[in-house]
Amino acid sequence: MRFVIDAATLASINFLLGLAIVTIYKGTRIINFALPGVMLFTAYLTVTVSGLMPLPLALLLGLGVAALLGAATFYLGIYPILGRPTYVGILTTVAIGFMLESIVTIVWKAGIVNLDLPSATFSVAGQSIRSAEAAIWATAVIVGAAFGILYRYTRLGLWLAATADNSLLARHRGIPVLVVLLLSSMVAAALAYAVGLLLGARLGVTMALGSTALRGLVVALVGGLDSVPGAALAAIILAVIESAVVIHDPRLATVVPYVVLLFILVWRPWGLLGTYEEVERI
C-alpha cells in the first residue's frame, strides 16, 4: 500500500514535469532546459516571501515571478534563436537554467528551507497519507484534465496545435504565433513552479529539486515529446519502475529513468505515444 502511495506521488510529479516540457516543445520545437532553474528560483523565493506576507499573496507573487521568468526564457533563450540550428536552443536554455541555479545558490546559500503550507495527515485503509501527497495527486489530475480540455476543445489549443504543426501557415491564417509561443513558455514555467512548491511542501526546498526537474525531460522523451497522454503513461511507468528499484537500492533508482530513456531512444525514438514523423530519422 505504501508502495502504491509512493508510486502515485512520483508519477504525479513526473507527469507535471513532463507536461511542462511537452507544452513548450509543442510550440517551439525546443526543449527548455531552463525549467530546473526556474523551479529552484521560484520555490526559494516563495519560501522567503511567505515569511513577509500572507501565504496566498506569497504564492501569487511566486506564480507571477515564474511567469515572468518563463517570458524571459522565451525572449532571451528561445525567440532569438528560432530558425538557427537546434543545438543553439539547447545551449541557450541550458545557460539560462544554470544562471538561475547559480543565483539561487549564492542568495539562499544552498540550504534546506521548509515551506510552511497548512498540512494534515489522514488515514485511508490503514495507511497515513500526508496532505502534501494528496495535493500532488490532485494537482496532477486537475492540470492533466485542464490540458486535455485545452488542447482538444479550446481555440487556444487549436492555435497551439496549428503553430506546432506549421508556424508559417499558422501565421498566414492570422494566428498570433508569438503570443501563443510566449504563453506556452509562461505556462511551462508556472507548471515548474507548481511542482517546486508541491515537492517543497513534502520534502523541504533544497538544491536537489534541480536534478528532480531534469526528470521532466526523461518523462517527456519516453512518452513522446508532443503527446500529453504519452507524458502521463511515461510518468506512471517510470514511477512504478523507480519505486520498485528504490526498495532494493536507492542510488540505483536515480539512474533508472536514464537507462529507460537510453533504451527508448534506441528502440522507439519518437516515444511511446509520440508522433512518428516527429523525429527526423536518419
Binding site: I30, I31, L76, G77, P80, I81, P85, T86, Y87, V88, I90, L91, T92, V94, A95, I96, G97, F98, M99, E101, S102, I103, T105, I106, K109, A110, L214, L217, V218, L221, L225, R251, L252, T254, V255, Y258, V259, L261, L262, L265, V266, P269, V279, E280, R281, I282
Partner: protein
C-alpha cells in the same frame, strides 16, 4: 616550396600544407618557444594553473570536434573524462606502480573513451538534435553511477581509503612528478592533439562533419555515410576527453567521480562556445579563458571585499558567470573569441576598405 600566399599555390600538394605560409610557420615556431618559457620564468603556482589549462584544452578540442564540427551536442563530456580517470585508476591500482605506465595508460584511455563514445553515439544514429543531447545526458548519469560504484569497490576491496592514491606517471625515461615536468609533458601532448585535430578536420571526415552540422539530410543526399561519421565524431571527441581525464587523474593522483558533474560538462561547453564553435584554436582560447577567468574573478572579489557568500559559493558564482557568457556569446557572437579576432584581423587586412572587392555586403 611553400607559397607566399595561401591563395597562390603552384601545385596541388601545396594546398594541403597545414602551415601554408612563411608567416604561419614563424608564428607557430614563435608560439612554441613562448609556450616553453613559463616553467623557466614563473613560480610553481602559475605553472600548475597552466597545467590545468593544457588538460582542459585537450578535453575542449575533443568536445569541439563532436559539438562544434559535427554539430552533435554533447552534454556529457565530463562522463568521458571520468572514463579516462578510471582507466588511470584501473592501471595504477590493479597493475601497481609499473614501469612506463604512461605508454599503457594513454592508448588504453583513448581506446576506452572511443569505445564508450561509440556506444553513447549509438542512439544518435537513430535520432538527431535534441534527442542526441538528451542521450548524452542520460549516458552521463549512467557513467557517473557506475563510477561511484567502482570507487566504492576500490575502497572496499583494495582498502585504498576515500582518497585513492594513484601511482606516478612514468614515461620510460622520466618519472613525471614535478609541476614543471608535467607542464612539458602536457605541452607536448596538447601540441600533438592540436596538430592532429587540425589535420583531422581537413580530411574527408572533417568535411563530412561540417556538412552534417549544417544540414544533415543534404549531407546524406550527397552520398555521405552520415551514421559512420557521426560515430567517428563521438569516438574522437570521447577519446580525447578520456585522454584528458587520464592525465587529470594522474596529475591529481586520485580518482574522484564527484569532480565530474553536469556542471563540469557545462564548463566544457562554455569553453567551446566562448572560444569559438568549430575552430580548434577557438577551443584552445576557450579553455584558457574558462580556466583562468575564475582566478581573475577571485582576485576581483578579494580586491573589492565582496560579501563572504560569494567566496563560499564560488563554484556556483563561476558557473553563473560562464552561463551568462555562454548566453551572450550565443546571441551576439556565435563565432566566439576566434570570431572577434577574425573580425579585427579582416578590418586591418582590408583597410581602408570595409569589404573584400567583388564581394557583396553580407546580410
Amino acid at each position: 616550396m611553400v607559397a607566399v600566399s595561401p591563395y597562390l599555390s603552384t601545385h596541388y600538394r601545396a594546398r594541403l600544407y597545414l602551415l601554408n605560409t612563411p608567416a604561419w610557420r614563424w608564428l607557430v615556431i614563435a608560439t612554441l618557444i613562448v609556450a616553453a618559457l613559463p616553467p623557466l620564468l614563473f613560480s610553481v603556482y602559475y605553472v600548475s594553473l597552466l597545467n590545468l589549462v593544457l588538460i582542459a584544452c585537450i578535453g575542449a578540442i575533443g568536445l569541439n570536434i563532436t559539438t562544434g564540427f559535427a554539430g552533435q551536442v554533447n552534454l556529457g563530456q565530463a562522463g568521458f573524462l571520468l572514463i579516462g580517470e578510471f582507466v588511470a585508476g584501473v592501471i595504477s591500482i590493479h597493475l601497481g606502480p609499473i614501469w612506463a605506465n604512461f605508454w599503457i595508460a594513454a592508448p588504453a584511455a583513448m581506446a576506452a573513451g572511443g569505445l564508450i563514445g561509440v556506444l553513447v553515439g549509438w542512439p544518435a544514429l537513430r535520432v538527431r538534435g535534441l534527442y542526441v543531447a538528451l542521450a548524452t545526458l542520460a549516458a552521463f548519469f549512467v557513467i557517473q553511477h557506475l563510477g561511484l560504484r567502482y570507487v566504492e569497490y576500490l575502497t572496499r576491496t583494495y582498502k585504498t581509503g576515500i582518497d585513492i592514491k594513484l601511482s606516478t606517471l612514468d614515461l620510460l625515461f622520466l618519472k613525471v612528478e614535478s609541476e614543471r615536468s608535467w607542464y612539458f609533458l602536457l605541452l607536448i601532448i596538447t601540441v600533438l592533439v592540436i596538430a592532429a585535430a587540425n589535420g583531422l578536420v581537413r580530411t574527408k571526415a572533417g568535411r563530412a562533419w561540417q556538412a552534417l552540422r549544417e544540414h544533415e539530410l543534404m549531407t546524406q543526399v550527397m552520398g555521405v555515410n552520415v551514421a559512420q561519421y557521426k560515430l567517428i565524431a563521438f569516438a574522437v571527441g570521447a577519446s580525447l576527453a578520456a585522454l584528458a581525464g587520464m592525465l587529470f587523474g594522474f596529475y591529481h593522483h586520485t580518482v574522484n567521480p564527484e569532480a565530474f558533474t553536469v556542471e563540469a560538462s557545462v564548463e566544457y561547453l562554455a569553453m567551446i562556445i566562448i572560444g569559438g564553435m568549430g575552430s580548434i584554436a577557438g577551443a584552445v582560447l576557450g579553455a584558457i579563458f574558462v580556466v583562468l577567468v575564475p582566478y581573475g574573478l577571485q582576485w576581483l572579489l578579494d580586491t573589492f571585499e565582496a560579501p563572504a557568500q560569494f567566496l563560499v559559493y564560488f563554484s556556483a558564482l563561476r558557473l553563473g558567470v560562464f552561463a551568462f557568457l555562454m548566453l551572450i556569446f550565443l546571441l551576439l557572437e556565435p563565432e566566439g573569441l576566434i570570431g572577434l579576432w577574425q573580425r579585427v584581423r579582416t578590418f586591418f587586412v582590408l583597410w581602408p576598405f570595409r569589404f573584400r572587392p567583388l564581394e557583396a555586403k553580407r546580410q
